[in-house]
């Protein structure tokens, strides 16, 4: 990373630029054995118990979108980061950075949503902070949440992706790309007439139902950068390959149509209520059954497998039998112009 350069939007989009920023600036100065793991949550030891600790900031524009608002999202994001690490989310902090002139009524609606989602997820908001900044010094409202979860010893391995092998199945709990496309349709001037809504949801209860019954080898929530980015991180970490099947990918028709028109790949679009689960071959259908019985897993599907072929690469097999590489998202996705 060249020091004379400025930060680009791409440094925040989850791709290679962001990775460089984290390793060459943040890890360089903060680096320690817990942080260096770069998992969704830090796993900490306090006396004889392990806890998971994570934080996330929410700067979404617009603040209100079909399927949720920034308040609901601020709870779901942090709860899901804790839950996919295999922990039981318990406590959250909430900090508000508010632009001068922001309507109190909107703040109250957002706070109500935040409280309702926390209640639904079963987490307590136990501390917080409020800052107000001059007009135009931030964009309306930013929220940061941090969370603590109780870690069960038997789940400690989940975020490390240690025991993966060829044949393991990759499962997702429903349609992909809903959040990203709902927000984009609300933000940009496309005016697509579609009922696409954000999938924004706290998944801790769903994940708990799975973990109670069956062993899981790895979990991650495919947020920014989408499913493609998580799968690429996984093959990077394990040195294994992944093959996914395009006809098996659950994609809402509205999302599919918007992606076709704009030239986007649903695999790169953000989700806020999805978890990718890797499990042993024998548990695939059983986990699928548990997921499908939960309100947040009705359209769950097995979308692919871990393979020994093409190590380090994620390959998609399409409808016509052709195969292509699925890369991580590089920079922001841009609509096609021709």
């Amino acid at each position: 990373m060249q020091k004379e350069h400025n930060i680009l939007l791409g440094h925040g989009s989850g791709g290679r630029l962001m990775h460089e920023l984290i390793t060459e600036v943040f890890i360089k100065h903060f680096g320690n054995e817990i942080l260096n793991d770069q998992t969704d949550s830090a796993i900490l030891t306090a006396g004889s118990t392990e806890i998971a600790f994570t934080t996330d900031s929410f700067v979404i524009d617009p603040l209100f979108f079909p399927g949720g608002n920034i308040g609901k999202l601020a709870v779901c994001g942090t709860v899901n980061d804790l839950a996919v690490s295999g922990s039981e989310p318990l406590f959250l902090s909430v900090s508000f950075i508010i632009e001068e002139g922001f309507p109190v009524r909107d703040l109250e609606i957002i706070t109500e949503s935040l409280a309702a989602e926390a209640k639904k997820a079963g987490v307590l908001i136990v501390t917080g902070d409020t800052k107000v900044v001059n007009k135009s010094k931030c964009d309306k409202l930013f929220i940061n949440t941090a969370g603590i979860g109780r870690m069960k010893k038997e789940n400690l391995y989940i975020s490390k992706a240690l025991n993966l092998q060829s044949g393991d199945v990759i499962i997702i709990n429903g349609t992909i790309g809903d959040h990203g496309m709902a927000v984009m349709n609300a933000r940009e001037s496309f005016n697509f007439k579609t009922n696409v809504e954000s999938d924004c949801a706290s998944l801790n209860h769903l994940i708990n139902e799975v973990l109670d019954k069956y062993p899981v080898k790895f979990m991650r929530d495919p947020t920014r950068g989408g499913v493609a980015t998580v799968l690429n991180e996984l093959v990077g970490k394990t040195g294994l390959g992944i093959e996914i099947s395009e006809p098996d990918l659950p994609v809402n028709n509205g999302v599919r149509a918007m992606c076709e028109i704009l030239g986007f790949d649903p695999l790169h679009i953000a989700n806020e209520g999805k978890v990718l689960i890797v499990a042993g071959e024998n548990y695939g259908l059983k986990i699928l059954e548990v997921l499908k019985n939960n309100e947040f897993g009705k359209k769950s599907a097995i979308i692919g497998r871990i393979v020994n072929d093409h190590p380090g690469k994620v390959v998609l097999r399409n409808e016509t039998g052709g195969r292509r590489i699925v890369d991580s998202l590089t920079g922001d996705q841009l609509p096609r112009i021709c």
Binding site: H5, L8, L9, V315, G322, L334, R336, I337
Partner: protein, 359 residues
Amino acid sequence: MKYVDEYRKKELILSVAEKLNTISKKEIVLMEVCGGHTMAIHRFGLTSLLPSNIHLISGPGCPVCVSSQHFIDLSMAYSRIPGIIITTYGDLIRVPGSSTSLEKERAAGSDIRIVYSVLESLEIAKKNSEKNIIFLGIGFETTAPATAAAILQAKKDKINNFYVLSAHKIMPPVMKELVKEGVKIDGFIAPGHVSAITGTGIYNELASVYGLGVVVAGFEPADLMQAVLMLAVQIETGTQKVDVQYQRVVHKEGNTIAQQLLNEVFVHGDDRWRGLGIIPESGLKISDDFSSFDAEKHFFVEIPESREPKGCICGQILRGLKTPVDCSLFAGKCTPSDPVGACMVSGEGTCATYYKYRF
């Protein structure tokens, strides 16, 4: 999804492939001119279904890729003028200029905004009456009518702070230029959306004078396979002509309303193409009647001589002479996240397509 799923049916595609294998004997080179075609061919793995005697090469049909380095450098110089807002389609923002990119200029403080339609620029102009808005007009006969419509709208609404830097181009001169240059092409898979605007008459000379087959194709796998089959039949039987595979969208006479818009606002002029140099009568220049909207007539900046990136072979790739894998920078020094040449930036650029679907 209607109009998509029926053209992706495996059985249909394989049956066309089977016919192709029976009919096609000659070694032939077909150029798909449009970047959208290149992307679809690789996305659906169609090359693996073609007989080994049919070779597809990519042409100069990606608007971002063919926009010259001079145009990119000029855009950046404009963005540094105080009080200017640049509006642009997203892909251009990451194209490296001679020294920097619009993305980096934006991080350094220039007001550069991505729009999805040129008409958004008019809204920005209305809301920022104290500033001047320059829209970077790129693309072929597909995007140019919208730019023309915006200029007409601006005139009607008396918006006097809206300008266009036009790098709009038209297709026929560059296709003819490649043939005249001696690039081995037996037939063209002609661009579907360009043809929807222009109609098919623009290709007549390629068939009648140069004896080439031209088939206008759609963008789904069955469309493209059928277009290749139609070209193979023409070439095998010596009946080269202009034909339309994409009949559900393209009509012989084209979209006459869009054509009127183009004729009203633009005139043809010589234009620079990346890697191809200046091609006579290949650009759409804003006509004198609308010169009050022409950025180049209002803003004057000095820019150093533009340099093509060292080692980049975009020009030869755009001419169909080389493929991305022939480039020493490909997938090493030049990747979508860190592009050296424009063909690696756009989602429809040949290099970006090869990178994404290399397998």
